[in-house]
């Protein structure tokens, strides 16, 4: 692989780590003592630094060094997390992103220098006066990860030598994940106790990549007067069978003889209870063994979970190409079906059926590979809300729900900008200032909820805020001032809310750098519709606003209704189709000549697709009308005939057809002919 490929891999990894890092920092803001979060942040910084140096991103490695050091100090309890530290940590994520995009961004200039200076200051404040930054300190060699059992029985006089055993245990804990079992059975009765002696001893189960010698070094000054026994009880890759049973651990630790154990086993009772009952083992020895067993079980469970998460990184272009190939395969398979049917060969038909089954399985699997959890993008909105709220002097909590909801990666990518705009709007226009909220009898802290859920073949994404809501009167007044509606227009609430989607509409009293330029909501709507989605608003004054986006699960394949007009085939997205009925124009023509159809007491306007697409052939006497449900309105499309449902692999039309209106793509049919996919929303919007 070339250096470029390595660099690309690093950039991808670093971007993912930055996402994790930001999510962890946001959590840390609410829970600054959470050691797991601190460790996660440290690890992310450490990996970015290490990999950065390895792949030639020296500026990143140099920049991250001081931040990593500060978090290492936090991890070791030498430094406390502060608000400025978190602010600078967030800024550092932005700088790292800049450095990933532009290698000329230096660590010792501009904002990067300000951040480094801050984190160096943190070290100084804690007495670590080392101001020089080692460029790339070599990490000590790490061995394979092992789990040790360390029995430490200090001498009774350990305190008199000036050693506190607690400090030694803390040193062990710093080496890795650990569990400490404290034995107190040797503490004598009160009359016999010398309060200045140490009667306590410990078993430490420690998982670390340090060696046995490293562990012994901790006890260097007390080992001669103490009992120190170190055993490897688990090593990754070895002894993968079920971990030893309780009795085996006790025998190994010398707590019970193998003979006594065998005698107990014969009685077929709980080993621990029996051994204690018979006075063969102290109960704390059993407890210690049980803790050890539990620790290893947990360790193995964590390892298994990590292995299950193993994934393979594949460039998304390769996935796109795979989807294209599957699309071709679907087309060929349809032709095979047609050919087999026309030949009347039962053997060939059977093969065609088998191929069809396999192709659909392959298609479903390929599609599922492209599905990503939307939660991967949610985290960036937390940061967005945090920063915007801070700039505006607001206190806002962003709650996310349904992060596990899956969407096609292309949909997720294209959803980014509209969603950013909607969230920004909620922060800027929706949520009020704390004082205003208190005056309105609300909590000073506003809440924005970003949720996702499946609904049939679509995903619903909702942005809900508990802010001031949309004021119908204000919206209408503004629209009238801008000449978007007449002064006397009568609009329903829903229609009034939708005014904000008109180009150039904005009610913000002051234009801010966040929103209020009236550029955006029309673009948001257009972008959502380009994804074959819809956008709806519901709002209540004083209570808040809810914006619902309805998006297709995937953009690559749709369930369509195949129809024909003249010699041309068209596909209408099946999710919008309500019903199909026979249509004879002579029977349905109204006196006024308006295109209105009466279906079971419902008056439904209809359009002739033949006219929209300028198809010259003569209309057949009996046509079909496909009734669609669009934004809770019913509308009919008149076509020559309805052929049936059709799984459609969407092909883009290419640059030459970019300006073709009302068509969103094309699909190749089984016989090789082309079917055009109708952009229903565009037609609907164009006719009002």
């Amino acid at each position: 692989m070339s250096a470029d490929i390595h660099s690309e891999a690093f950039i991808q990894e670093a971007q993912e780590l930055l996402q994790e890092l930001e999510a962890s920092l946001l959590e840390l803001e609410d829970d600054s003592e959470n050691t797991e979060l601190i460790a996660r942040i440290f690890r992310a910084m450490h990996t970015i630094k290490g990999s950065g140096a390895m792949f030639g991103f020296e500026n990143i490695a140099h920049f991250v060094h001081d931040i990593e050091t500060a978090y290492d100090m936090v991890r070791n309890g030498e430094l406390r997390v502060s608000k400025p530290m978190l602010d600078y940590s967030f800024k550092s994520c932005d700088v790292i992103k800049q450095m990933l995009d532009d290698s000329s961004v230096r660590a010792e200039s501009g904002e990067a220098l300000e951040i480094i200076t801050f984190f160096r200051g943190c070290r100084k404040d804690t007495g670590d006066a080392q101001n020089t930054v080692p460029e790339h300190q070599d990490e000590p060699e790490q061995g394979p990860e092992r789990t040790y059992r360390i029995r430490f029985e200090p001498s009774e006089n350990i305190f008199l030598t000036g050693t506190n055993p607690a400090m030694l245990l803390e040193e062990l804990q710093a080496m890795g994940e650990s569990e400490i079992i404290t034995h107190i059975t040797r503490i004598p009765e009160i009359e016999e106790l010398d309060p200045e002696c140490c009667y306590t001893f410990w078993d430490v189960i420690l998982t670390t990549s340090k060696t046995e010698n490293d562990i012994r070094d901790v006890f260097m000054f007390v080992e001669d007067e103490s009992v120190l026994k170190i055993d490897v009880i688990y090593e990754s890759g070895l002894d993968e069978e079920n971990y030893r049973k309780l009795g085996e651990i006790l025998v190994e630790k010398g707590e019970v003889s193998a003979e006594d154990l065998a005698a107990i086993i014969k009685e077929k009772k709980m080993i621990g209870e029996m051994l204690i009952e018979k006075g063969l083992v102290e109960q704390d020895a059993v407890v210690s063994a049980l803790e050890e067993q539990k620790y290893i079980k947990n360790l193995k469970a964590k390892k298994a979970a990590a292995e299950n998460n193993t994934s393979l990184r594949v460039p998304s272009e390769k996935l796109d190409s795979l989807v294209d190939l599957v699309g071709e395969l679907v087309t060929v398979q349809a032709r095979l079906n047609q050919t087999a049917a026309s030949m009347g060969d039962s053997g060939l038909s059977k093969i065609a059926e088998d191929v069809e089954r396999l192709v659909w399985e392959l298609r479903d699997n390929t599609m599922s590979i492209r599905m990503l959890q939307i939660g991967t993008t949610f985290s960036k909105y937390k940061r967005l809300v945090r920063d915007l709220a801070k700039d505006l002097g607001k206190d806002i909590e962003l709650v996310t729900k349904g992060e596990e909801t899956e969407l096609d990666k292309t949909v997720i990518e294209k959803l980014g900008d509209p969603l950013v705009h909607l969230v920004r709007n909620s922060v800027d226009h929706g949520i009020e200032l704390p004082a205003d909220r208190i005056a309105a009898g609300k909590s000073p802290r506003g809440k924005i909820t970003l949720s996702a859920e499946h609904s049939g073949d679509s995903v619903l994404i909702r942005i809900t805020d508990d802010g001031k809501g949309l004021d119908k009167k204000v919206l209408m007044k503004k629209a009238a001032e801008k000449g978007l509606i007449s002064e006397n227009a009568e609009l329903s609430s829903k229609e009034a809310f939708e005014l904000i989607f008109l180009p150039g509409f904005s009610t913000a009293a002051a234009v801010s750098n966040i929103s209020g330029r009236g550029v955006g909501m029309d673009v948001v709507k257009r972008n959502i519709e380009a994804l074959r989605g819809t956008i709806e608003i519901d709002s209540s004054i004083g209570k808040g606003t809810e914006i619902t986006l309805k998006l297709p699960l995937t953009l690559a394949i749709i369930d369509g209704l195949l129809v024909r007009i003249g010699e041309q085939f068209f596909i209408i997205p099946l999710s919008m189709v309500n019903e199909c009925i026979e249509f004879k124009e002579s029977l349905h023509r109204t006196e006024s000549g308006r295109c209105i159809l009466k279906v079971r007491d419902d008056l439904i306007p209809y359009l002739k697709l033949r006219s929209i697409f300028f198809i010259p052939e003569e209309e057949p006497e009996i046509q079909q009308i496909v009734i669609l449900d669009i934004e809770n309105n019913r509308i009919g499309f008149v076509v020559d005939s309805v052929i049936g449902d059709h799984q459609t692999v969407i092909k883009s039309l290419g640059k030459s057809f970019k300006k073709v209106e009302c068509i969103s793509g094309a699909s190749v049919l089984g016989d090789g002919s082309i079917a055009l996919i109708i952009d229903v929303m565009k037609i609907y919007n164009s006719v009002g």
Partner: protein, 115 residues
Amino acid sequence: MIEMRMEKQADGKTILHLSGELTISNVRPLYERVCEGLKAPEELTVHIGNVDAIDCTFLQVLCTAHRAYTAKGKSFCVKLDDCGIIGKAGWSGIAPGKKCAKGLFGTCFLIQEGE
């Protein structure tokens, strides 16, 4: 410096307030106090708060005192303002709710009622 303050309650119970440095250099006064209490017909609650330092000598005294009081049918209870101090004393793995080796089968002063 250790601060040790006795508080007699109307119901006859005694509360022993401990704070400061609960380390080997100050453990003997506590030991002597609990031994005295064992001779008197009193029930003892040890309240530990505002701890600057603690080591396992203090916990050993409390542990053996608990056993002795219980054996005599007296109540002995420890209340901790900060459970984290137990870990700092090298008694990691023992914390209220988690139980110590003794606590798993029997009772432990760290998981006494009143915690």
